[in-house]
Structures are given as C-alpha cells and as structure tokens.
C-alpha cells in the first residue's frame, strides 16, 4: 500500500512536470505580449524593452523554463506581473474558498446525479425514467454561463432568497454550489442509471431477492455498492471538467476563488498566475484520481493495490 502510494506520487510529479512544460510553451508562443499589458499603451519602446529584460522575458524559451522550474522545486511560483505579489500567496489566499465550493458542489452533484440515476434505473422505461433522463440531457447540454446567470437571476435577483454574489456565509455558498451540482449531475445520473441497470440484472441480485430480502435492502445493500464502483473512478476524472466549470461560476457569482483569479490573469496575460493556477488545478486532478483509486479497495475487496 505504502509502495503503491509512493509510486503514484512519483508518477504525479512527472505528470505535473509535463503539464508545466506544455503550459509554459503555449504561453511562450502566444501572440499576445505580456509586457505591453504591464507597460500600458502609452509606454515607449525603451520602457517596454526594460521591463522585458527585468522579467527575463527576452531570454530563450528553455532558459526561461528552467529558471521557472528552478523556482518551482523550491516552492517559488514567481511574482504576479500586475498584482505585485507572490503567486503562492495569492493562490493560498484564494484556495480555501475554491476548496469549500468544490466540496459543496461535488456533494450536490453526487446527491442530485446519483439519486436521479438510481430512481431512473428502478423505474426503467417508465415516465419517471424518461422525465429524469430528459432533465439530465438538458443539464449536460446547457452552457455553464447560461445556467449560472439564470440561477442568479431567478433565485437572487427576482426571488431574493440568496445574496447576488460574494463569499462569507452559508447562504453565499448555496447558489454557486447548486449551480455546479446541477451542471455536473447529468453525467452522473446517466452513468449511475446504466451501471444500476447492469447490476440489477446480475445473478447475485437474483440471489438476494431469492433470499427474501426487502427491496430497500436489495437496492441499497446489494446493488448500490456494486453500481457505485465505476462512478468513483469517474469522480477523479471529473475534477478536471469541474475546474473548467468553476472558472465560469466563480466569475458569475463573484466567488473569490482561484477560478476568478485565473479568469482575471488570463485577460491580462499574467503568466506567473496562469502557470500557478494551472499547476494547482493539475495537482488537484492528479490527487483526486489517486484518492478515488485509494477509496475503491474499501468497497470492492477484489481490488488490491500493488
């Protein structure tokens, strides 16, 4: 087990190195010039060159990359071009908000998605099933910003049940979490439905029914632990998609998380922040997957980690 985790952590470090390289390269070949953003429109060519030299942006790609990497291994993510602050501090100040939203949103996502999926599977091909699957189809295909704005308009502006934006109380958390939950629930409900239908057809469910167990015990005690196994692996992968959604939702709801930070940094080509946020997100995805893989053996005794 310890060996397995160690091996996976080494793999994770290599993945992050790859992510760092690709992102750095893409930002390097980007036609927009970060120095122009810093210096402003009216700056002279001389000022621009000075800033460029100061930031080391005149050096060849590999030199810049290894300098960044050198800082990275010491835990230094560099300084923001525009906010004049350490990137690590900026991220650290915003990470708790994002993590809070993420945990709440994943909870909503699973609660909505899994209960929809289970209900649909048990009422297969009936009206409830069709209605739920239509709903899931809508949530999967609706654009994130449309749903976010719609939720904001209905529940905050019109009904006034929740604050329009910001951070601090439980009421601030509800709308962004539920919005992200609804957006992600479509996939989970479809996955859960098909997984549950497969499991309900197995021989061991027939055995459980032949033993005279109650329906609740058959569904929750026998079918659910088996049906949820593929879903757990999916949660790990889903964190990636989730990080994309969080950028939009945080911006719409004015949630001071790293999604919002990234959104501002991208608009102004603030390379150190973009790099930092990308690496933190990538780390979240990699660790989320590792966590999912570590949970599975507790449910499924057939799986041993080696």
């Amino acid at each position: 087990m310890a060996g397995y985790i160690l091996r996976r952590l080494i793999q994770s470090a290599l993945i992050l190195l790859g992510v760092a390289f690709v992102t750095f390269f893409l930002l390097f070949v980007l036609p927009a010039d970060p120095v122009r953003q810093i210096a402003g429109r009216s700056a002279t060519a001389e000022t621009v060159e000075n800033i460029r030299q100061q930031l080391g942006l005149d050096k060849p790609f590999l030199v810049q990359f290894f300098r960044y990497l050198g800082g990275l291994v010491q835990g230094d993510l560099g300084r923001s071009y525009l906010q004049k602050s350490e990137v690590s501090l900026l991220i650290a100040s915003r990470l708790p908000a994002t993590l809070l939203l993420m945990v709440a949103a994943i909870f909503c996502e699973l609660a909505i998605g899994l209960s929809m999926g289970i209900t649909a599977a048990l009422r297969r091909d009936r009206f409830t099933d069709q209605a739920l699957m239509l709903t899931s189809f809508v949530t999967v295909s609706a654009p994130q910003f449309v749903v976010s704005l719609l939720m904001l308009y209905v529940f905050a502006v019109k009904l006034g049940w929740f604050p329009i934006g910001g951070y601090g109380t439980f009421r601030h958390l509800v709308l962004p979490a539920i919005t992200l939950g609804i957006l992600g629930s479509g996939w989970y409900s479809r996955m859960m439905r098909s997984s549950m239908i497969d499991v309900m057809r197995t021989d061991y469910i027939r055995t459980a029914r032949a033993k005279g167990l109650t329906r609740a015990r058959v569904v929750l005690g026998h079918a659910l632990p088996n049906a949820i196994l593929p879903i757990i692996a999916m949660i790990g992968i889903d964190i990636g998609v989730f990080m994309g959604g969080i950028v939009v939702v945080e911006s719409v709801f004015g949630w001071p998380g790293i999604g919002q930070l990234a959104w501002q940094a991208i608009q102004r080509i603030d390379i150190p922040i973009i790099m930092g946020v990308t690496l933190v997100s990538a780390a979240a995805i990699v660790l989320g997957n590792l966590l999912a893989d570590l949970i599975v053996p507790f449910i499924d005794p057939r799986i041993r980690l080696r």
Partner: protein, 590 residues
C-alpha cells in the same frame, strides 16, 4: 447407493408440501401473449426429489422462477393455474407475504456459483442477512447459525470463511456457501437450478453427495432442474421431462429410464453420452502432425514496491505428446489444469518454452510470415460459439474470412467455398446472408466448424467445443466432427472435461492435473485400465445415466486442491511418466 429405490415407497406416505396445478406462464410480446410454460401440474412431497429435465428453452427455469415469484416483471407473468405451498396460493399472495416465504420456506440455488454471490459483501454478511431477514435473532446468534450452516455443508475452516469474500473461494466452495445460505432456515422446498452444471466433475460428485445427505437429515423436498440425465438418474425419485413449456412425460425415475414412452424422452436418453459405449475406431496413420516436447508455459504474477514479478503461475509443466494425422487426441482434466493453455501455445497465442512442432516445423523458429502460413494448417473451435462469432458479420463473411486473411481465391470463389462448407456442416446455402443471432446454439457451433474447415487444416483444436450444447445437439455435432474427420483426414485435439464424451470419440487420451500429464495412452488403456488415482477419480465421478447402477461410495476429497502458483525459483515436483506397456504412460506415484 441405489438412488432409484431411495424413498420410493416412503414418498407416497410423506405429506405433500407443494402442489402446482395447471401452471401457465406467458410473456407479453408485440403480437400478443406467448406461453413459456403451459398447463404444468405436479406435486412434491416431503423428503422427495423431483427432477425437471429438458433442454434449453424447455421452460424448466421459468417454472422455478414462477414458484419463487421471481419472474421478471412486467412482461413475464403467471397467466393461469396455481402454486400451493401448504395452504397459501403463491400466485395470489401479495409481494410482501411472498417475500417472507422466500428464503425461509422455499429456497433456491443457481447454476453459476461464480456470479451468484455478491462480490463486495463477505460470506458472513450474506449468510447472516438472510437469517436475520426472516427471524428476530441478534447479530451474534445469526452468526452462530451461519457458522453452523457452513459446518453443515462441510466447508473447511468455517470461522475463517465467514470473513472471506466470494472471490477468495473456488467454484465448488461457493456453491457450498449457496447451499448453506439456502438451507440455513430449513426450508420445506429447495429448488436447485442446474446446481452442478458449472462445476468440475469431481466437485459435482461432492456437491450431489452433500445435497443428498442434507436432504436426508432435514427432510427437504428438492426440485432439481437439470439437463443432465446422469444427474437425474442419481438424484431423483420422480422425473418430469419438459419440452417447449409442456410436460412431455412424468413418472418414477426407474420407469422413465427403463421404459420411456414418449419419443422426446427416448431421444433425450439416447443422446446422453455413456461410458463404455464408444464404438471401435478405424486405425489411424503413424504420421505425426503435431509434436510437443517438454512444453512449459508460466505466467508471472506482479507484486512488491516496483511491480516486479514475485511468483509464477505454472500453467503447463513439461508436457510432451504427439498427435497423428487423422486421429482424435483428447486432453482431459478439470478447470485450471492447463489444457486450454496448451491449445493457445500451439497456435502461438501465448509464449512457451520447449518445442512445439506442427507438421515438422518448430513454432519458435518461425518468423511472422512463417507463423501465419502455419496457422493455415491448424484451427481452433472454441466453447462459446456466440462469443466466437462477430455479431456484425454475416455467416457467409465469417466463414470466408480465413480465406480473405490468407489472401486465397477471388471474392466469388470465397463465396462459393463458404456455400459449400455450409452444406458440409448441415446448414443451407440460403442462410449465408444471415447474422449469427438468427441461429441456434448448435447451428452457431456448426458455423464455427465450417469456418475452421475453410482453410482445409490438418489439425483442428476443439476446446470444449460441445460443452455448452444440449445433449441432443451435442450428439449431432460430435457425429458431424467424426464424419468430417473421415472425409478430410483431419486430426483433432479434443479438449474436454467430460469423460463420457471423450470416451466416445477419442483414439488416444492424456489426463492432465495441475499443468502436468499424469496418465496417457490409448482410449482402451485409459478407460479400461486406469492406473493413476486421479484418472480413476475422474472416471468414477461421472454420473451414470442409469438409476439401477449401484455406485460404490468414493472417498471424499479432503483439503483443497493445490495451487499452481509458486514463488520464483520454486516449482511443482516434476512427474516422471513410466511406460507400463504398449505406450500406456503413468506418472510414478509420489
């Protein structure tokens, strides 16, 4: 023990526990109701075993599910008749009351022990929950009862088993757990749906003995659903032969076997392969088509910090034999003995050590092109024809595909050849453009055989090719194989666990156990004069389709079968084969 006369006189006096009258089960289809079981009636008395025998699709499993109230709703349902357990009619009980009867008064065990237990729950949990579902005992008491149930089915180390999970148990052990679960609450009726079909023959023997012992002890009435007339002869007091949902014939076991009245029952009995009924076979050539010398196949098991191989599965160990042109060489043994691995090694699907020569050419010395050319001479027919045929190709395309792969003849010639082969295997040419799902199991296996014949091979490996087929279909496919062998002079490597089938069709036989050959010789030598204790046990374990046959009690197997997994550098003891006369080789006893 004489199963036929067992209880025969006492059963008439025993109280009636289950009465089925005019039972009709229908499935709702687009064109209206179609009946799966029609007007079935029988009674079952305490301590009696009633066998419902029939081929696939005869409605025997549907009958069992109807009694349990487990028919898949809403399409399949009981449309007429009654099922009385004591005073209550099960077809009219509401689900809640029916549920309280399931598992307590009627229990069921199923065909597939590998998939019938929940993989994520421990054996203890699965046993105690069925006890606690019907009685108001505490968790500790339920566990004590579960332990007693495991002891009753003679499972070794019962305390430890309670904490184990299904994947840690072998198929035979799992079926014992299923029986323990079913009998824990002493039900009046036990429905056993093909309880031993998926098990090895020696394990089948133990499970059948166990069921009979428990029945005597508890007085349970058993409905035994099976296609195997050998099992029927050994276990049942009475038999119902079913065909397409109807009871064709009913009677005492002795009567059905001695004087079957209906043609269907007669055919069913005639098709059963029997030991000692093999016809003498024509002399075969001495020319060798395949030669295996010291073949070893091992698979590494990975573990440890760096994922290095720490142990090996010794699947095949120092196996040597020859197959002569035009003969049938049978490889018999139980699951996991390495017989299918040999087949895979012979066509180059798994790497091997030692020498495998096909038509004088060593597999190891060949390059990719050479191997491809060699594959024209050797073909495989697998166990499950549905899985072996691509569902999106027509039968014509499937049969012609080997010709296409090897770039032989034009498209028109390929089609003509496919049509010719279809006729050879007893199908018609107008079926060429149909898809595999439109055929029955036996017809699909014929298609697989036609495909194997397309390249006119010298050797066909038949890996459990008739095991999944109904006996009557099995008999016809075996007959077809023998006709094709005479016609084309093809040699067969016939891999099987079924001693009766092997005895009927083979020229020479090798018996495998844990990756090694323990005995080999001509059919007469192996079946007439079996020397190795394992060969004897295999032969004795085969159920005899004759209720008057008196079986000598065979000693019960103690302990578990040894594992083929050994740490690196270690291995099983190599068996030395000794010739005891005219090519009859036997492993020297350890």
């Amino acid at each position: 023990m004489n199963a036929g006369s067992k209880n025969a006189s006492g059963a008439d006096l025993a109280p009636e526990v289950l009465r089925v009258q005019g039972l009709t089960v229908s499935v709702r289809t687009e064109t209206g109701d179609r009946s799966l079981v029609e007007d079935l009636s029988f009674t079952l008395r305490r301590g009696e075993t009633l066998a419902i025998a029939g081929e696939s699709g005869s409605g025997k499993s549907i009958t069992a599910l109807a009694i349990m109230g487990l028919l898949p709703p809403p399409a399949v349902r009981v449309t007429a008749g009654s099922i009385h357990l004591g005073d209550s009619d099960l077809t009219r009980l509401p689900e809640a009351q029916l549920r309280s009867l399931r598992g307590s008064r009627i229990a069921m065990i199923f065909q597939e022990p590998m998939t019938s237990l929940n993989p994520v729950l421990s054996i203890g949990t699965q046993l105690t929950e069925s006890i606690r579902a019907h009685t108001s005992v505490s968790r500790t008491e339920a566990r004590t009862m579960a332990l007693a149930a495991l002891q009753a089915v003679r499972l070794s180390q019962p305390e430890q088993r309670l904490n184990q999970y299904p994947h840690e148990l072998s198929g035979g052990m799992r079926q014992r757990v299923m029986i323990a679960m079913a009998l824990a609450l002493r039900p009046e009726v036990l429905i056993a749906d093909e309880p031993t079909t998926a098990l090895d023959v020696t394990v089948q023997r133990e499970v059948l003995d166990l069921l009979r012992d428990l029945q005597r002890e508890f007085g349970t009435a058993i409905i035994l659903i099976t296609h195997d007339m050998g099992v029927v002869a050994e276990m049942a007091d009475r038999v119902i032969a079913m065909k397409t949902g109807r009871a064709e014939e009913e009677g005492s076991t002795a009567q059905i076997f001695a004087q079957p009245k209906m043609p269907y029952t007669q055919d069913l009995l005639a098709a059963v392969p029997r030991m000692g009924k093999g016809k003498p076979r024509a002399e075969t050539g001495t020319d060798t088509i395949a030669r295996l010398q010291d073949v070893v196949v091992r698979f590494p098991l990975k573990g440890g910090l760096l994922g290095r191989a720490t142990a090996q599965v010794h699947a095949v160990e120092h196996v040597s034999f020859e197959i002569r042109r035009g003969e049938t060489f049978a490889l018999v043994g139980e699951s996991g003995c390495g017989k299918s691995t040999i087949a895979k090694a012979m066509v180059g699907l798994v790497p091997h050590q030692g020498t495998i020569e096909i038509a004088g050419q060593s597999l190891a010395s060949l390059d990719t092109a050479g191997r491809k050319a060699l594959r024209r001479r050797i073909q495989i027919v697998f166990q499950d024809p549905m899985a072996a045929l691509n569902p999106r190709m027509t039968v014509g395309q499937l049969i012609a595909e080997p010709l296409l792969i090897h770039g032989l003849c034009t498209a028109a010639e390929q089609r003509a050849r496919a049509a010719d082969l279809m006729q050879r295997v007893g199908l018609t040419t107008d079926q060429l453009d149909r898809y595999p799902h439109e055929f029955s199991g036996g017809q699909r296996q014929r298609i697989c055989i036609a495909r194997a014949l397309a390249l006119q091979p010298d050797l066909i490996i038949a890996d459990e090719s008739v095991s999944a087929l109904d006996v009557s279909v099995q008999a016809r496919v075996l007959e077809l194989l023998q006709i094709l062998q005479r016609e084309f002079g093809i040699a067969f490597l016939f891999i099987s666990h079924d001693m009766a089938v092997v005895e009927n069709i083979s020229d020479r036989v090798a018996v495998m156990f844990l990756g090694q050959i323990v005995e080999t010789g001509s059919r007469a030598q192996i079946f007439g004069n079996p020397q190795h204790p394992y060969t004897r046990r295999l032969i004795e374990a085969v159920p005899v389709p004759d209720p008057t046959c008196i079986r000598t009690a065979s000693p019960r197997l103690s302990g578990e079968v040894a594992s083929p997994v050994h740490p690196f550098g270690k291995g099983p003891k190599r068996l030395v084969l000794v010739d005891i006369g005219s090519g009859h080789l036997v492993a020297a006893s350890p």
